[in-house]
């Protein structure tokens, strides 16, 4: 009986959560945005040399997004591009502010960035602080020719002077709400939630 009661308690919490969480983008809508992002990228004449291009995603959703974009890019152009995953834990500006220390995931980048045209990829652009940290991290892997910023979703929460070059969609949503992106294959579904 006690077991049942505790389960009911968990159900109640989940029901409340499901009411608060709102689906902003479903899988089909995300699937629609990816080619649009690749369009923007291909329209950039200074990135025309695809052999110099490298997609570097900020962990842990930006790298998944970067791999998805690279697949789309290959479908369209027949060219494969280098994809990296950047862990920015050691570069964040809140080491002295955080309430808890999280475990880093590590960077996967088996190529150097000297002379490359790098497209930095992230799921959501909010304060700009992650991007600031990512720029610091990137230059430790060499001196890129160009760095562009691509994001799936852009919000109006900027605290640092950072702007994206390629944007999937701009979201007008209250600043105190959280936006949560889920992307396959790292996650089990393609969806964007707001809570």
């Amino acid at each position: 009986m006690g077991f049942l009661r505790s389960r009911n308690c968990i159900f109640a919490v989940l029901v409340v959560l499901s009411r608060v969480m709102q689906t902003l983008l479903n899988a089909a809508e995300i699937e629609f945005l990816l080619p649009k992002l690749v369009d923007q990228l291909l329209a950039d004449t200074r990135l025309a040399d695809l052999s110099a291009l490298a997609l570097v995603g900020i962990k842990s959703r930006g790298d998944t997004l970067a791999h998805r974009l690279a697949a789309e890019l290959q479908k369209r152009t027949g060219k494969t591009v280098d994809v990296g995953g950047l862990d920015i834990t050691m570069y964040r500006d809140d080491f002295n502010e955080r309430a808890a220390i999280t475990i880093p995931q590590g960077t996967d980048m088996n190529f150097r960035l000297d002379g490359r045209n790098v497209v930095l990829v992230d799921d959501v652009l909010e304060t700009g602080r992650s991007v600031r940290a990512a720029l610091d991290a990137l230059v430790d892997f060499g001196r890129p020719n160009i760095i562009r910023l691509l994001v799936l979703i852009e919000r109006s929460k900027r605290e640092y002077p950072i702007a994206a070059d390629f944007v999937g969609m701009t979201l007008e949503i209250s600043n105190d709400r959280k936006v949560l992106v889920r992307l396959k294959p790292g996650d089990t579904e393609d969806v964007v939630y707001a809570s």
Binding site: L17, M90, F95, R98, A100, G106, F141, T188
Partner: protein, 340 residues
């Protein structure tokens, strides 16, 4: 009830490190050991970059407080701190003036007054780091206390085993931390009684689910170790064919006071790892040694430099493990003090 459609808030529960000190491995949970190993794995890549440095500990100060001689551990901690962008102070301690507890207390207070963030301590007395951690507010990392523990060595040994056997496909990268090393058989050979490396290894390995056998002369293995869930054996040749890893401990001349074994030659004959003896073992045997080696005594040169040896990987992994420990402890200590 729309329960099934409720999205999970997070796909994985966030793993959070909360310890400001690393005093021993005995008090760590299997999950915490794996967290430290995962952090080390993430940080190992830093040493392969052209710019071998991350800014995580910028503005933090690490003090080396070594009451016992050490070159490699100290160098490894120094390099680890530098790769994390911390500043380093060497606090030279003249061993002759050490009058145990009181001096340690005074030294600690003096150091603390300089506004430092982490003390790395090596001391002849078991428990000295624990005492220090109760005196100071900064992080304390044990770099070896008497014959008690050497936690970063224990971590780097399990890191090396995990790294090697994950690459060969023998171990899985993820899963239940307490079963991570299930099925792994490890022999620790030599002077167990005086070895802090052995104790830290036993704790880490048993917590991760490995089967541990301690091998050596009866005079150098206290029977009490059986209580920790390990086997004790005195016939190395019988143990060797059924283990995946051997950790060859150094014969510590400086700690062996009375005659614990009849002669070095006999020790070498019974417990030294030679090419001849290696033939008894599996071809995949992984050979570890915490260094510095007494070549020709506990291990012969051909084995130490041979295909089964991971001794140099241990040194490289030690750097990553110490970077991880500095990051986790200094970070957690800062977080704890902010929440007060």
């Amino acid at each position: 009830m729309p329960v099934e459609t409720a999205p999970p808030l997070q796909s994985k529960p966030a793993r959070v490190w909360t310890r400001p000190h690393l005093l021993d491995l005995e008090s760590l949970s299997a999950e915490e050991i794996v967290m430290a190993l995962d952090t080390a794995r993430a940080l190992k890549e830093v040493s392969t970059r052209s710019i071998k440095k991350v800014p995580a500990l910028r503005g933090k100060v690490m003090v080396n407080l070594f009451f016992e001689d050490s070159t490699r551990t100290k160098t490894s901690f120094n390099l680890a701190a530098q790769r994390m962008s911390a500043d380093i102070v060497d606090f030279s301690v003249s061993t002759s003036s050490v009058s145990k507890g009181e001096t340690l207390r005074d030294t600690a207070r003096n150091i603390e007054a300089m506004g430092i963030d982490v003390i790395v301590i090596r001391h002849r007395v078991s428990g000295a780091p624990h005492l220090l951690s109760r005196i100071v507010k900064c992080s304390v990392i044990n770099a070896g206390d008497g014959s008690h523990e050497h936690p970063t060595q224990g971590l780097l040994d399990v890191f090396t085993i995990r790294d090697h056997f994950t690459r060969t496909g023998r171990l899985k990268q993820t899963g239940d931390a307490s079963k991570l090393f299930a099925g792994m058989r490890v022999a620790i050979v030599g002077d167990i009684a005086n070895s802090r490396v052995a104790r830290s290894n036993v704790w880490a390995l048993t917590k991760l689910g490995a089967q541990v056998t301690l091998v050596g002369p009866a005079t150098l293995i206290p029977g009490d170790f059986r209580k920790l869930g390990v086997e004790i054996a005195h016939d190395f040749d019988a143990v060797l064919p059924r283990v995946d890893v051997v950790n060859m401990l150094r014969v510590q001349f400086e700690r062996i006071t009375s005659s614990m074994f009849p002669s070095l030659r006999e020790y070498s004959h019974l417990f030294g790892l030679t090419a001849q003896r290696l033939k008894l073992a599996s071809k995949e045997l992984l050979v570890l040694h915490p260094g510095p080696m007494n070549r020709g005594l506990e291990i012969t040169t051909d084995v130490a430099d041979g295909d089964n040896s991971a001794i140099l990987q241990q040194v490289a992994n030690g750097l990553a493990v110490r970077m991880a420990v500095l990051y986790l402890c200094v970070g957690a200590n800062g977080a704890a003090q902010r929440s007060v």
